[in-house]
């Protein structure tokens, strides 16, 4: 902190990063074709580097989608980020898609962006809904720290586990939410529980227990709580949020 405070603000601390390549003149896309646009050159590079790990690719509305083998996603992403000829420095989004179809696999989607080459690439991996394949993909948190909350949200909404994520908890729903994963297609829009069950759960929750054990332990605050509260929270009861 102290060096920041005393740093002379008039002298630039960082060199400016300019996107794109010299001579580029990006323009608003016109008359975008539905199928058959130009393929992102990174696809060929990925195939040359990873071979059978890379599945099929589509170009829809000029956006390239590449399918990647499920357990190799983090490896592929790390290469895409660090290779100077690809340079996907920026992770726009991590999300998932479930189709209105009982057998079509759930897809996990990564939107990558290369600031240096002004490219956009969509990575996808398929998680079959056969009941045997675990809903698990490797986390890309080690590649882009921005994946932290995006993966937590994807876990929260779809129940997809990101292995290797340091803190995979629910984020938008509260931690004790018992009704499942809201964006799955088998989840009814008004929730799984009836209104009376939801009300009952809300009323029986203990509003005092607002801190997680982790939060209490980092500050050694647990021992300072009143005895009855310690007993309730220690027994695992929490309202979370």
């Amino acid at each position: 902190m102290s060096e920041h405070l005393t740093q002379d603000h008039a002298a630039p601390a960082f060199a400016i990063v300019y996107p794109g390549q010299p001579g580029d003149a990006p323009a608003t896309p016109k008359q975008v074709p539905h199928k058959g646009g130009a393929v992102n050159p990174s696809v060929a590079a990925l195939r040359a580097k990873f071979g059978p790990v890379i599945g099929r690719h589509d170009v829809v509305w000029n956006e390239t989608t590449v399918f990647v083998q499920r357990d190799k996603v983090a490896e592929v992403c790390a290469w895409l980020q660090s290779d100077p000829a690809q340079s996907y420095e920026y992770l726009s989004d991590v999300t998932a898609v479930e189709y209105r179809d009982a057998v079509r696999p759930i897809e996990v989607v990564w939107h990558l962006r290369s600031i240096k080459f002004r490219r956009f690439l969509r990575l996808k991996t398929e998680l079959p809904k056969d009941g045997k394949t675990p809903l698990e993909v490797p986390s890309v948190w080690g590649v882009w720290k921005g994946a932290d909350w995006l993966e937590r949200e994807c876990y929260d909404m779809f129940g997809i586990k990101f292995t290797g994520h340091p803190d995979l908890r629910r984020i938008l729903m509260w931690e004790q939410y018992k009704e499942g994963f809201p964006l799955r297609k088998d989840f009814p829009m008004r929730g799984r529980f009836s209104r009376s069950e939801q009300l009952k759960n809300a009323l029986s929750a203990n509003p005092e227990a607002r801190y997680s054990m982790e939060e209490l332990s980092i500050a050694d605050a647990f021992e300072d709580l009143p005895h009855d509260m310690r007993k309730r929270i220690g027994g695992g009861e929490r309202t979370g949020e």
Binding site: D8, A10, V17, W61, Y90, S92, R100, E214
Partner: protein
């Protein structure tokens, strides 16, 4: 290479100490990091847990921060979000494409017109529609006006957080003028729902363009006032310089976007790098900071307000005549007088409203530069009238996820300034 402008951070003598270093208020903050020699060992290392929010005026909504403090220094920050979660994305799967537009007002409610335009840009890509020239310029006007609103609210609330009251009044007064314009156009101030797939809800009314021109004449004067009041103010500089620093590499790695990323020295602006609505034909600069701290974020946003005025002036100059909506009966409703008097138009109206337009099978992600950063809508269509998946890429959600990194090692009072500098809107974060 995109035309990019670097802001020169020039401080007057009022903001500097005698040896040219920025003055800092409160004084003596440096001493807190290391305990003075001779302090009793049992007084060191005792950490305190403190809870800010979710109902706290300085958290800009229902954000809850759990902070672990060593004295007044933040050791660790655990943010909690989700108090406003409404399940917009789930609801969108049960709605036709035009019926989702009112939801986009309510996520980032300071930029509602911008969200409307961003949403339909994505939907039009999915339908394969090319909008009319007049509609393009009107949408640029709508988006830049909402950028002005959003940045003015950011400016006002940040001033309040840091302790300056007057700029808040100035910026909210100007914001009111923009809201009057939007109300004249769409009938609503906050929840505008101003666009439709293939066009706008309406053309601008008579006299509206003159009203906007009048606003553009007056508004830079307010900006100059704010500039004079804050930019070289010793208290403002002291409360913002050196806080929450993110280097360009960190900022990219944490997925920051918008003014947060540009203040860290990455000249990435979606309007320049992945243009939409013919932004490449407008002449404007992208302000970039070089220190990545709260002060630079302030400078970047302040300059963006001026650049928005420039874009609006050019848009008014080129605003062409012609229709606003595309001429495509599969998308656009027939005029009201025809729907109530002609059989065919009535059937057409009924079918469009009840069944809804159907896009081809496909998916698309169209990003725009919202005031908070890169906002994108990701659509997946299976050929029916309702999207399989409608995903919002929320810039302030990703920006906020870097707050534990930014506040670590700073004072408790600086947490408020850093949090304010992110420019969060909880409606967008929780959705």
């Amino acid at each position: 290479m995109a035309a990019t402008k670097t802001i020169e951070v020039a401080l007057s003598t009022t903001g500097l100490t005698a040896d040219g270093k920025p003055m800092r208020v409160p004084l003596g903050a440096e001493g807190l990091m290391s305990a003075p020699p001779g302090i009793e060992p049992e007084l060191q290392g005792e950490h305190m847990l403190i809870n800010i929010g979710p109902q706290h005026p300085a958290t800009h909504g229902v954000l809850r921060l759990v902070l672990e403090l060593d004295g007044e220094t933040v050791v660790r920050c655990i943010p909690h979000v989700g108090y406003l979660h409404c399940g917009f994305e789930k609801i969108g799967e049960y709605r036709q494409y035009n019926q989702i537009i009112p939801w986009t007002d309510r996520e980032d409610y300071l930029n509602s017109m911008g969200n409307n335009c961003a949403y339909v840009l994505g939907a039009e890509r999915l339908f394969g529609i090319e909008i009319t020239e007049r509609c393009k310029v009107l949408r640029v006007i709508a988006m830049e006006l909402s950028r002005i609103i959003s940045h003015l609210v950011w400016l006002g609330t940040t001033c309040i957080d840091i302790g300056a009251f007057t700029p808040f009044l100035w910026s909210f007064q100007e914001r009111e003028n923009v809201y009057k314009l939007l109300e004249g156009w769409t009938g609503a101030r906050l929840t505008t729902s101003g666009t439709r797939v293939g066009g706008m809800i309406a053309d601008v009314p008579d006299g509206w363009v003159e009203g906007l021109r009048g606003f553009l004449d007056r508004f830079p004067k307010t900006l100059d006032q704010v500039d004079r009041m804050l930019t070289k103010n010793a208290i403002w500089v002291g409360r913002t310089v050196g806080l929450g620093v993110m280097s360009p590499e960190e900022a990219l790695n944490y997925g920051l976007s918008g003014p947060m990323l540009r203040a860290s020295g990455v000249a990435y602006d979606v309007r320049k790098d992945f243009p939409y609505l013919d932004y490449e034909t407008y002449d404007f600069d992208v302000p970039v900071g070089t220190n990545g701290d709260v002060y630079d974020r302030f400078l970047v946003r302040q300059e963006e307000l001026r650049q928005s005025v420039r874009i609006l002036e050019q848009a008014l100059k080129r605003l062409p005549d012609g229709p606003v909506n595309v001429d495509d009966p599969r998308i656009i409703l027939p005029p009201k007088h025809k729907a109530t008097s002609e059989m065919e138009s009535m059937i057409h109206h009924f079918k469009l409203v009840m069944e809804g337009p159907r896009p081809p099978i496909g998916e698309t992600y169209v990003p725009i530069e919202s005031p908070k950063g890169e906002k994108g809508y990701y659509f997946v269509s299976d050929g029916t009238a309702k999207p399989v998946r409608w995903r919002i890429r929320p810039p302030s959600y990703v920006n906020l996820s870097a707050i534990p990194k930014m506040v670590e090692g700073h004072l408790l009072s600086d947490v408020i300034a850093i949090n304010a500098s992110i420019d969060i809107v909880m409606g967008e974060i929780d959705r």
